[in-house]
Symmetry: C2
């Protein structure tokens, strides 16, 4: 009996096999033929490739099922034999593995795109991956490997599908990146890593497209946003024939040094992609023997909430700049937007998405709650539109679980759900959605009894939300507590209580915090004065994200100033960029500030 795969990679770094496709071409695969069909027609050829890799020392061999999805097999009229093809592939590999190697079920891209980029609805794409994953798992694969994905949305759908089939099967998920450090569809490694981690991958990384140095850079960037073990599957350097012998680039010492770098940052599976042969694997295996290191577990509880879109990402908490959640895509009190929602139009959303991001929003709240509309459909339209118009991650703001789920399907990355409360019914409805779709969630510090008067009362609800989230398998870092801004003119004593709640929640629970800030000043004249002062105080108290109007100059001035003061805008670079040259800005009534400051020493 081999030990479970995820335990094995904690003890030692495993070697993954090399290329399958080029090996099959050498051994009889004809142009235009389905490589996966060989599982049925030429099983011995497939087996021989596996055998060579196992003999070369591979710890993991990958099934010949890269194109084993319904969409791919349909090109060859083989979709009716999907289960058979995938099951046979596992059986062939299992026999060659012979108790010496793990069998990884390969799943590649479908060649189709999910809506709105393509025409495949999310649910249909997910069903395709479910079908292939179920076949591989049922046949006894030790793990699944999502390889060479170009579209993060498709890879995310595949992960969500696999997790519907099995909560426990180990899953590797890999995107392919270009020389420019993004996938061909514009996703940077951080964004990919955030999305894949949230959607339930166990190991993430990159395969194909880049050589060793390129992959190393990609993984370094992934490492900044994920606690997961990593996988490196670089294209091999080309072997050269020197004095009649096949020689691979790099000395064994260079190979060992490369492994050391990779392992040092938490890579636990190393393999090769295009161009890698059993001979490569053999050399890698030998080199790796000299540098084995136990896995240094990385805590999830970094206190940082990562969110992602297709092309961007935002980190809130843990000393990052306070995230700005643009609040303008919300029909409350906005007639134009309300009417557009009724009419199924998106011009307001597109404009506000672009303008809020231009003004400094790092996240966009999307709320479509207006009477008499199909809210789930409106949410899907809004998410498609906002994602296309702006590169920042989204915050799905709805009291309807159906609308939230539609938005979660429509999203490209890891979104933030706004919100769950401490009420049992809310927790029961919302937390499973967050877990299933890999989202973070805002927890409102209130329950059926309302908003507690004291910070301690709000802390108690926050703890209850955190505990419920843990039971659903949602990490602490994906809970952001809304400590609740009450209107100061109505509840004057409770403004300070909200600030105290921020401190308590961070101190006692280590959770990130968020506030809808401007509610504080409702009913008072010159509202931005009160709101911006409260915002500055809240940031000093540790506020990690703020739901505001980023086109409110006073609010953004408070934000930029606070980021300087709290040492999160290093060298005041962002601040100076924003205000340099503003000589007679209307932003403040700048009373002549010509006086030099008093030196402390002079005052002694």
């Amino acid at each position: 009996m081999m030990k479970p795969f995820l335990e094995a990679i904690q003890e030692k770094v495993l070697i993954l096999d090399g290329a399958m496709g080029t090996m099959l071409q050498e051994r009889g695969l004809r142009p235009g033929q389905s490589p996966e069909e060989l599982n049925l027609t030429m099983p011995e050829v497939v087996a021989s490739v596996h055998r060579d890799y196992v003999e070369a020392g591979a710890d993991i061999i990958i099934t010949n099922t890269f194109g084993g999805s319904r969409f791919k097999l349909a090109h060859y009229g083989l979709e009716g034999r999907l289960a058979e093809i995938n099951a046979r592939a596992v059986q062939i590999a299992r026999k060659e593995a012979g108790g010496r190697a793990y069998v990884g079920g390969s799943i590649g891209p479908t060649g189709q795109f999910v809506e709105p980029l393509g025409e495949i609805p999310f649910d249909e794409m997910k069903a395709a991956f479910r079908e292939q994953a179920a076949a591989l798992i049922d046949a006894g694969a030790d793990l699944l490997s999502l390889e060479t994905f170009l579209d993060i949305k498709e890879c995310r759908a595949a992960l969500i599908a696999i997790r519907e089939v099995s909560g426990t099967i180990p899953v590797i998920a890999m995107l392919t990146f270009d020389d420019n450090g993004r996938s061909v569809l514009g996703t940077p490694p951080e964004s990919a890593a955030i999305t894949l981690t949230a959607a339930g991958a166990d190991i993430i990384g990159s395969n194909c497209g880049l050589g060793v140095d390129g992959i190393y850079d990609i993984l370094c960037r992934m490492r900044t946003v994920t606690h997961l073990p990593l996988i490196s599957q670089a294209n091999a350097g080309l072997p050269r024939l020197i004095d009649g012998a096949t020689v691979f680039p790099g000395t064994p010492q260079e190979m060992a040094a490369y492994h050391e770098r990779m392992i040092g940052m938490g890579v636990r599976v190393i393999g090769g992609c295009c161009g890698t042969t059993p001979a490569h694997i053999s050399v890698m295996k030998a080199a790796l023997g000299t540098v084995q290191q136990p896995w240094q577990p990385r805590s999830e509880s970094t206190g940082v909430t990562f969110l992602s879109s297709r092309s961007g990402w935002t980190a809130a908490g843990g000393g990052n700049k306070t995230a700005i959640i643009g609040e303008r895509i919300n029909p409350t009190g906005k007639k134009i937007y309300s009417q557009e929602l009724q009419d199924g139009k998106v011009a307001y959303i597109r404009r506000e998405a672009m303008e809020q991001v231009a003004a400094g929003a790092t996240l966009l709240d999307v709320n479509v709650g207006t009477p008499g509309i199909d809210e789930p459909a409106a949410m899907e339209r809004a998410v498609f539109c906002a994602a296309a118009a702006a590169g920042v991650p989204l915050v799905l703001d709805s009291s309807s679980p159906a609308a939230l789920e539609r938005g979660l399907k429509a999203a490209d990355g890891k979104v933030l759900i706004n919100s769950v409360s401490g009420e049992a019914k809310s927790l029961r409805r919302v937390l499973p959605l967050a877990k299933k779709y890999g989202a973070a969630v805002i927890g409102l510090a209130l329950d059926q009894k309302g908003i507690p008067d004291t910070a301690e009362g709000r802390l108690a609800i926050a703890r209850r939300i955190r505990n419920a989230a843990r039971r659903h398998g949602i990490p602490d870092a994906d809970i952001i507590i809304d400590c609740l801004t009450l209107t100061v003119s109505a509840e004057q004593k409770r403004a300070a209580e909200t600030l105290r709640a921020i401190r308590l929640v961070k101190q006692k629970l280590g959770l990130s915090t968020v506030l809808g800030v401007s509610n504080i000043s409702f009913g008072l004249p010159q509202r931005p004065l009160i709101s911006s002062a409260f915002f500055a105080m809240a940031m000093e108290a540790g506020l990690d994200a703020a739901i505001i109007n980023p086109r409110d100059g006073a609010m953004m001035a408070a934000w930029r100033s606070a980021m300087v003061l709290l040492n999160r805008d290093h060298q005041a670079a962002v601040y100076i960029e924003a205000y340099r040259g503003e000589q007679a800005a209307a932003t403040v009534q700048a009373v002549a500030a010509s006086d030099a400051p008093l030196s402390i020493r002079e005052r002694l």
Copy 2:
């Protein structure tokens, strides 16, 4: 042996005798004659008045020396016999007291005014009181009683004089107030109480001018700002002849109720002023027997720093509004003011004093430090001018002990010294001045080694300053720690450290805190943005006083907003008053804030 006077009043409320002057007139004092001369010429008459009061039950009898100062005696050519007159008065009273009553040496106003109101220099006025106090103390008075003062500055000078003669003689200090609740020279009871408490009185209160209800109101107002035991010496209601018997207004029950009210607020000496006779005293004594209460000690450590001027007062700390110290009267970088200081002119000071107070300053910093001038003389001129132009208490800002002392003499009330540091030399020079002249003092959290990097380092210096102050007899409430604002563009990590220092100093030492705020933004564009955000954060951290330019609209907006948010501007009254009707104010770039706030419930 009677127990020491200050111990006695802790155990029971003492009865003070009644009027002396009217009694002497009845018994032979001629119009135009010096009442004090009777101590030499008709000692038996003086003795008979004392005897009647002692027999009526008075616990304290007051010597016939109300006009026994050099200035008063000079009217009668008796200034050469000052020592003799005062000494004899004590001897006469002592004999009649006979171990049953304390002898209080009376000291009244001189009939002259201290500069700049009158022509008597502070030192000359002080010398006059020294002379009389020394005579009374040398003759064996148990305590001194400053009575019927109209000018707080004169009464303050008398207290400072007495404390030069004796640090331990118990001193009662009383001002006389009008029906309008102020002294004839415009001093409210709070201001008087703050000044007298700081200048070294043991018991304060009011005598003459008002009946029982009026005095009660005065003492209530004094009680809000002092921890000292109080004295009530009201004019007696006129006795009426009913059925041949002398009857005093009010039943014994009413008299007892009156005593209960007085004692309930900490009055420990009750007597009568004009119109009070031994018969009154006898009735009061009887009524008092039914309501005796032990003294409830009041702590000095209220955490509130009280400061006063002739006509106003300011409380900083302990949940009061953050005090605004106007910073503009400072020649650093101001050519016009520098030149005026060279020329001995005060137009700039007068204008800035008025304008800063109009803009919201509750204290005024006065700094005259410019090269090549007589700084003590300039400080005196500046204090005279600023006190006349503005009703708020002053902050004397100088590194020269001589200039500070000149300013302390020139002041009408309890000022704030800016500043002492943790350096031994600074503590040695500045703290005795604060103690002697009854001033509070700003303690800079730095020493010869500079400004500590950490909040803990600044706390340690604050503690050292506090301990040194205690050794000088300065209460904790009169130390305000400057946690030191460093320029954020130069020392970015230390901005948060300053805020942490504020919290630490308040939490660990219970001291009030102050900052010169605007130094934070030196070198950055749009300085008011950074300064006002930092100011809001500092107020939330507990800042009790801020040295700022009150004509900086952004700073005052942060202040007004913070006072609302921290529940110190109840019902936002000050805020609304300031901004009501400002529709298109230039104060902020008010982006359309027309959206109604999201109800929390709606978001569920």
